[in-house]
């Protein structure tokens, strides 16, 4: 039987200076990796070596990288998997401007300056009516417009995923409407909805409880040989995955933040049924040249 073709995505963590193994490791990489041109070149090299998409949190850093990628004559145009919100940016801003109220004011100003008429109208409706759905809609429109304005018309915005902090908080608070509203919002714009979570089995169970189909949805969750960030346990995550044949499940943190060597990490993923793709970050040209061919080789035989 022919092996299913996997979706291979280059991730953006190194461009934000993130290492989940240790912050020191991220500092040791230096700032070079987050420089726009260098990061864009890493994305392009990854695309030339087998990646077909770019998974990124929507921030000024990644939007600059996107602009740079789309400026160049790239043979393999990336399929975009965008994550919103870039929680770190908003949490840091909330810290600086005095909490959630300060953040809301700042965010309102940004939307006004964006001149996105639809977003302004829906935002106004949300604030005046204190309507969570209108505010959510405003926010999502704003983020999509940021992505669109950083790419060209032909860009394939394949999926927009809700960041783990929002997904997991909404799951914990049992906010069924957030998920349903989000999925409808994205489907209405011909964008595949996605959820990034660090509580994969919990999400699957909640969706079953709510009778929400996950067939046309992307879920990005950690899967790795050592069970790093696989909660409540590696076994429970593997069990939940085994029953999920139709969903586009993308494995993230496959290297357990650099704790595993690529071959052993990929061999573990190859042994899991129902993983439809992988997102992995690269911080050097050599990584881009080696990682994606190895992924194709091991995952697709």
């Amino acid at each position: 039987m022919e092996e299913e073709r996997k979706v291979l995505l280059v991730g953006d963590n190194p461009f934000h200076g993130i290492s989940h193994l240790s912050q020191q490791r991220a500092r040791d990489r230096g700032e070079g990796v987050s420089h726009t041109e260098h990061a864009a070149q890493l994305v392009i090299s990854s695309l030339e070596h087998g990646a077909e998409g770019f998974m990124f949190s929507v921030s000024e850093t990644t939007l600059s990288i996107l602009r740079e990628v789309f400026k160049k004559e790239v043979v393999n145009r990336p399929k975009l998997y965008a994550l919103v919100p870039y929680a770190y940016e908003y949490v840091r801003l909330a810290t600086q401007v005095g909490g959630i109220s300060g953040l809301a004011k700042r965010f309102g100003k940004q939307i006004l300056f964006s001149r996105n008429v639809k977003a302004i109208a829906s935002g106004l409706k949300g604030v005046l009516g204190k309507n969570p759905e209108a505010l959510f809609s405003t926010y999502l429109s704003y983020e999509i417009s940021r992505i669109r304005s950083s790419t060209d018309k032909k860009a394939d915005l394949g999926c927009v995923l809700l960041h783990e902090i929002v997904t997991d908080m909404a799951l914990a608070l049992d906010l069924e409407w957030v998920f349903k509203f989000y999925m409808d919002f994205m489907h209405n714009r011909d964008i595949k909805p996605g959820f990034n979570t660090r509580n994969f089995p919990y999400l699957i169970n909640k969706f079953k409880e709510w009778n929400v189909e996950l067939d046309d949805t992307v879920i990005a969750a950690p899967f790795n040989k050592v069970g790093f960030q696989m909660n409540p346990s590696k076994t429970e995550c593997e069990k939940a995955l085994a029953n999920l044949s139709e969903t586009e499940t993308i494995a993230i943190s496959i290297l357990a933040a650099g704790y595993l060597n690529p071959r052993e990490a990929i061999e573990y993923i190859a042994g899991l049924s129902h993983i439809k793709g992988v997102a992995v970050g690269v911080s050097k040209e050599r990584h881009a040249h080696e990682t994606f061919p190895l992924l194709r080789d091991v995952l697709e035989g």
Binding site: H16, G17, I18, L21, S22, Q23, Q24, A26, R27, Y88, V91, R92, A94, T95, Q96, V97, G98, G99, I100, S101, A104, V127, K130, N131, P132, L135, I165, D168, M169, A172, L173, D174, L175, W177, R198, N199, Y202, V226, G227, F228, Q229, M230, N231, P232, S233, A256, A257, Y259
Partner: protein, 332 residues
């Protein structure tokens, strides 16, 4: 001990900032808990919460929590309001089991008063020094208790973040957060007190520049038996995307370095060892923020259910307020 034969523990969260939302979410996942109420001063947060949280009461004032028959209340408001809110909760007998985000109060005097009220109430009380629930610091504590380093001679501790790096308004917003020592330094101070027992301040320096974002503190501490320690705290340090806490501890047999990510033990005789979070079973029932938040909340809830004392309780946590006061006094 709470009678749980028929009902779950009824909990309320006062303050719906990021910490309040985080604790409310985790509490809602714990099967032993019913998130019964939330309370916030912000009219926007209250209106939105009323529309979103349909299974729990939403209030603007602590007074409105009276009569809800609550078992526990979490106080997650800005530090400067802890004293009045906790006093109010005790005096109105809203609940006798209280969890307060760090620091307990804005001064040692206030903290002592809250400790006294807590003793009178007879409930379980805890302060959110969640770094104690981080697997690397737990491992560090375990190694110290096993005397892996022999007698400890000295330590260097740091708490760094880049939160206010290049941020012009840092001192204005920073002060409303309780200042760099309470907002950031308190965690590593609590870890040091947990590791080494009581410490006394020997000298201190706090740098504040109104518009330059240079909020940092340096201080030295000592213990009666000669142990010496130094602290460096800053929220405008380059390269600290997330707040990071760490200690380098020197003993007669070697050195241990421990931070949020890993523990390293270098012994003068014998081999060196290193443990990352990956090596220390960092799984939790539900992961939101860092795993330590879930462990902290679960521990508090289980302690309330079983009527057990917890650490860090108000009394233990008040020592952090004491040391911060002493540093600020010496810094002038």
């Amino acid at each position: 001990m709470v009678d749980m034969t028929e009902e779950r523990l009824k909990a309320a969260v006062v303050g719906l900032g990021k910490m309040g939302l985080l604790h409310a979410s985790i509490l809602n996942v714990l099967p032993e808990v019913e998130l019964a109420a939330v309370c916030d001063k912000s009219s926007l947060m209250v209106s939105l919460s009323k529309k979103v949280l349909d299974r729990c009461g939403v209030f603007t004032d602590v007074e409105e929590l009276c009569g809800l028959d609550l078992d526990v209340v979490y106080v997650t408001t800005p530090i400067s309001s802890h004293f009045e809110i906790v006093k109010d909760l005790y005096s109105r007998e809203v609940a006798c089991n209280l969890f307060v985000e760090k620091t307990l109060a804005s001064s040692y005097g206030e903290a002592e008063e809250l400790c006294s009220l807590a003793r009178s109430s007879g409930g379980v009380n805890m302060v959110g020094y969640m770094k104690r629930f981080c697997v690397t610091f737990k491992k560090g504590k375990e190694l110290l208790e096993q005397k892996a380093l022999g007698d400890v001679v000295s330590f260097d501790a740091y708490a760094y973040s880049s939160d206010f790096l290049d941020c012009e308004a840092s001192s204005v917003t920073g002060e409303s957060r309780g200042g760099v020592l309470r907002d950031l330094g308190a965690h590593v101070l609590d870890l040091a007190l947990w590791f080494f027992g009581d410490l006394e301040v020997e000298s201190g320096r706090v740098e504040k520049v109104a518009r330059g974002g240079k909020d940092s503190a340096y201080f030295k501490v000592g213990r009666g038996d000669g142990l010496e320690g130094e602290f460096s705290v800053s929220w405008c340090k380059e390269g600290y995307r997330m707040p990071e806490f760490g200690l380098t501890i020197k003993g007669l047999r070697g050195v241990m370095r421990v931070n949020d990510d890993r523990v390293e033990l270098k012994l003068e005789k014998g081999k060196s060892s290193r443990w990352y979070r990956h090596d220390l079973d960092d799984h939790v029932g539900f992961l939101l923020g860092d795993p330590e938040y879930f462990r902290e909340d679960k521990y508090f809830v289980e302690s309330v259910l079983n009527g057990k004392n917890v650490e860090p309780c108000f009394s233990t946590a008040s020592r952090v307020d004491y040391i911060i006061d002493e540093v600020e006094k010496r810094a002038g």
